[in-house]
């Protein structure tokens, strides 16, 4: 069975049974590394991706549910040459230790900044609450999201 969707702006098709998880498709035939298995039960956020701009757990989302939709992963946010303001801010704040949780956190933060360009700490904490970070980088991550929000607002004002 073939599922077609847009992955990070590019049309892709995957030949896998429709009930296989999006996470397996992304890490398997689609060759991505950013979305990661952490629990398989929507309890840690490590697998988070954006489907039509909304954070979704890729570990439990069936592949056929994204047919015709736009999926975005951390790989679609930016590159070392052209980083997303969030990625630049995470590096500037050194917001991470092991970094295993970061791809999921980054896409949730991107969705937050899309709907709220100036979130306060409570809003950032609420948006990231589905995500676990065991290394204890939370405060740096919150600072980095604030920094990125500021940069994006200033970028918009300058444009």
């Amino acid at each position: 069975m073939t599922t077609r969707f847009t992955l990070n702006g590019t049309a892709v098709s995957v030949d896998l049974p429709g009930e296989v998880s999006l996470l397996h498709a992304l890490r398997g035939p689609l060759g991505l590394s950013g979305p990661r298995y952490g629990c398989g039960a929507e309890q840690c956020g490590t697998c988070m991706v954006l489907v039509e701009g909304t954070p979704r757990y890729a570990c439990t989302l069936a592949l056929d549910a994204v047919e015709g939709k736009a999926v975005r992963t951390v790989e679609g946010l930016g590159t070392p040459e052209a980083p997303h303001p969030l990625q630049a801010a995470f590096l500037a704040e050194q917001a991470g230790q092991c970094g295993f949780c970061l791809p999921g956190i980054l896409v949730s933060a991107a969705a937050l900044l899309d709907r709220d360009p100036d979130p306060d700490d409570a809003a950032i904490r609420a948006a990231l609450d589905p995500h676990l970070c065991r290394c204890g980088s939370h405060n740096r991550i919150i600072r980095a999201v604030r920094r990125a929000a500021r940069a994006m607002r200033e970028g918009r004002a300058a444009a």
């Binding site: 896998l16 296989v20 998880s21 397996h24 890490r27 398997g28 060759g31 991505l32 590394s33 950013g34 979305p35 990661r36 298995y37 952490g38 629990c39 398989g40 039960a41 309890q43 840690c44 490590t46 992963t73 951390v74 790989e75 930016g78 590159t79 070392p80 980083p83 990625q87 995470f90 590096l91 050194q94 991470g96 230790q97 092991c98 970094g99 295993f100 949780c101 970061l102 791809p103 980054l106 950032i124 904490r125 609420a126 990231l128 609450d129 995500h131 676990l132 970070c133 065991r134 290394c135 204890g136 980088s137 939370h138 405060n139 740096r140 991550i141 919150i142």
Partner: protein
């Protein structure tokens, strides 16, 4: 000390072998070429035996090397540890990487620089003292005369390091001591394939283990027939070790679930009653030893005595990523890709279980998710090796499920710590007696007679994992880590009871026994201070002779506005202090909590002294992380079990601190560039636990005696008061 004989605590205790002393792990790995290689194209490779666990060690080590060699940081590449060529630095643990490996690298680089300059002086006739190095190029008075790169092929480093060479003085350092950005972080924010989980070798298969439903269960029947397993998945069985392997990961996962329904296991009650765990600890078979005993004749033992028993259930590593490994057998040789903390130690135990010579096993480190001690990283490497043996020449990747990660990794042991302390009428401590009851805190591979890898107990002819042991106090100790108060106490006796049965496998987790011991010490100090009518900080300072200890305590109190704090309804502040392992970093923490339906940690102020901080921002990151780990342990964590199995095997049943619950953290580093560098990863955890307990007493007037500090344990403490 109960380590017993024949244990290999390489890296924990430096051998006295009669050879001239070299710094850190250089003493036992003396050949310079093992540590450093210059390349003709202007790069340098360093080869630490310590590994990246998410703590940022690669960056700190590269900084040390760049500084000592006089090359820019960008020229340094770090080759991750692998047998058989990497220096054998034992295990990356105990906050020892900067001490053991950093000091070794610094000295090795100083040697390399000296040798290269000497050769350049001979070649060019420029006197040695007139030569200087700028980003790898050698300059004489008249300009450039050579470089490391031009001499790269001369095999100059095929020699042993000399103790005579001196590293640069602290004032000459330019890169060490700065907050260089982490080398590994860009890959991590762009989602690059950096973890062992992301390895994709040609022809790689995926496997899953089917764990027994109970501890120690035996596989008695594997029913044949029924529909074929998905994706042509193949069953691999060795005794009670059962796994499936398939070309696609989703097929392996589905096949494991299907296969689990076809197995009959023989299971029995092997675990203690969780509700009576403290009683079980007191009654279980054990061996007793004395950690320290000293008596002063001229001190009156009369005065105010406090007696308290502190209990902590077992706790889990609970890494966000599950354990993973890749293995391949070809022609009788096994290759393993692993996030183990010690590639040589793992090799030793793999060889024992697989019954092959260690020389036929290549173990390569690849980063895993955050590591906080001896988790399942080594275990999953054996799992991968066992499956790969059944499919020669094909790499096999095994990924643990969340249930395996939280249910089958080694845990930090449940502990009981009883303290009886007496202060005289003037409020001075006169005696301290403490008894620790715990399983051992180390069952790392490569150290005991029998292998300690999980599935080694399940394969045909396998032996159970032997009960854990405690490293000697000279190596930091295990259950007894940080049990000796740093406070001035004339009469002191600390006893250690190590259990000789191990129903739940235990091993090293961040701090080992320190979180419980420091909590017990600091709570007792608070109690005695209250009896003496003294301020908790002042009472501690009065018993501290170590100026570096006093300085961190004063700094944390000052940051928190301790002296001028106002009493607020439902809010409390507490303080905790320890010098990690009584020999490493000094750290004091003030915590503020809000006592609502549950206790919430709202703020932490942390002051630490790690000697020379190679990367101050990296140290701050580790302090914050360790403290938040401590808050999580203090307020939320407990491994749950029934008589047969661990039941806390999901994030729902083993909750850890979340974004909405994390306190605001402020850190201050006391800079001492002229002092030896000390590890920072563990020093903040135990004082944070202690500070939260103190803050709960401050807010609610009750001394908590059991972790985690939930409404239930707080209510129990109130009832007992």
């Amino acid at each position: 000390m109960s380590a017993g004989s024949g244990m290999d605590f390489r890296g924990l205790v430096t051998p006295e072998d009669g050879r001239p002393r070299l710094p850190g792990s250089l003493h036992t790995n003396r050949r310079l070429s093992q540590w450093i290689t210059f390349h003709a194209d202007g790069r340098v490779t360093i080869r630490p035996g310590k590994v990246e666990l998410g703590q940022g060690i690669l960056t700190a080590l590269a900084q040390i090397a760049a500084d000592e060699l006089d090359v820019s940081l960008a020229r340094i590449g770090v080759q991750t540890a692998a047998t058989p060529d990497s220096p054998n630095e034992g295990v990356t643990s105990g906050s020892l990487s900067v001490q053991d490996c950093g000091s070794a690298l610094r000295h090795a680089c100083a040697n390399a620089r000296a040798i290269h300059l000497q050769v350049a002086a001979q070649k060019t006739g420029v006197p040695l003292e007139a030569l200087r190095v700028e980003d790898g190029t050698f300059f004489g008075p008249a300009g450039p005369v050579g470089s490391y790169w031009a001499q790269a092929d001369d095999a100059l480093l095929e020699c042993a390091a000399s103790p005579e060479v001196k590293a640069k003085p602290p004032s000459a350092r330019r890169i060490a001591g700065t907050s260089a950005p982490r080398l590994d972080l860009p890959d991590k924010v762009f989602g690059a394939a950096r973890f062992v989980h992301d390895l994709r070798l040609p022809g790689m298969l995926h496997a899953r283990v089917v764990r027994p439903p109970a501890r120690g269960a035996r596989l008695v029947e594997l029913r044949e027939g029924g529909p074929p397993l998905p994706g042509g998945a193949r069953v691999v069985r060795d005794g009670s070790f059962l796994a499936v392997v398939a070309a696609a990961e989703h097929d392996a996962e589905a096949a494991a679930a299907r296969l689990a329904a076809r197995v009959r296991w023989e299971e029995a009650d092997t675990l203690p009653d969780e509700r009576a765990l403290a009683d079980w600890l007191r009654e279980a078979p054990h061996e007793d030893s004395v950690v320290i005993e000293r008596a002063a004749d001229d001190v009156a033992l009369a005065g105010q005595t406090v007696r308290t028993c502190f209990f902590r259930p077992p706790v889990a590593h609970a890494s966000v990523g599950t354990c993973c490994a890749v293995a391949r057998w070809s022609g009788g040789t096994l290759e393993v890709w692993t996030h183990s903390q010690g590639v040589y130690n793992l090799r030793t135990d793999l060889a024992k279980v697989l019954r092959i010579a260690p020389e036929r096993i290549l173990v390569r480190h690849v980063e895993g998710a955050g590591c906080y001690g001896h988790n399942g990283a080594d275990d999953v490497a054996l799992d991968a090796a066992l499956v790969a043996r059944a499919v020669p020449d094909q790499p096999v990747r095994v990924l643990w499920s969340r249930a395996e990660e939280l249910g089958w990794s080694p845990f930090s042991s449940a502990m009981l710590v009883e303290v009886e302390a007496t202060a005289d009428a003037a409020g001075n401590l006169v005696s301290w007696r403490c008894e620790i009851i715990s399983n051992g805190h180390s069952s790392r591979p490569g150290r005991m007679q029998d292998p300690t890898l999980l599935s080694g107990a399940y394969v045909e002819g396998g032996v159970p994992v032997p009960p854990s042991i405690n490293p000697p106090i000279a190596g930091g100790g295990g259950a007894q880590r940080n049990a000796i108060p740093l406070y001035r106490i004339p009469n002191l006796r600390i006893g250690l009871r190590r259990l000789t049965v191990m129903p739940l496998r235990t091993s090293a987790l961040r701090g080992l026994g320190a979180p419980v011991n420091v909590w017990a010490i600091e709570s007792t100090m608070d109690e005695l201070a209250a009896h003496a009518g003294a301020d908790p900080v002042e009472f501690r300072l009065r018993h501290l002779d170590d100026p570096r200890a006093a300085e961190v305590l004063r700094a944390a109190a000052e940051m928190a506005g301790w002296a001028g704090r106002a009493r607020r309804e439902g809010v409390g502040m507490g303080v905790g202090f320890a010098r990690y392992k009584n020999a490493s970093a000094w750290c004091a923490v003030v915590a503020e909590i809000a006592a609502e339906a549950t206790v919430r940690a709202t703020r932490l102020w942390i002051a630490a002294d790690v000697g020379e901080a190679i990367n101050p921002d990296g140290v701050a990151n580790q302090l914050e992380g360790g403290a938040i780990h401590g808050v999580s342990m203090a307020l939320k964590e407990a491994v749950r079990f029934d008589r047969r199995r661990v039941t806390s095997d999901s994030w729902e049943t083993y909750p850890i601190l979340r974004f909405s619950e994390v306190p605001v953290v402020q850190t201050r580093l006391i800079q001492r560039p002229d002092q030896p560098p000390l590890g920072a990863g563990e020093c903040a955890l135990a004082p944070s636990v202690a500070a939260i307990a103190g803050a709960i007493r401050d807010a609610l007037g009750v001394r908590v005696r059991a972790m985690p500090f939930t409404p239930e344990t707080i209510a129990a403490a109130m009832d007992a008061a």
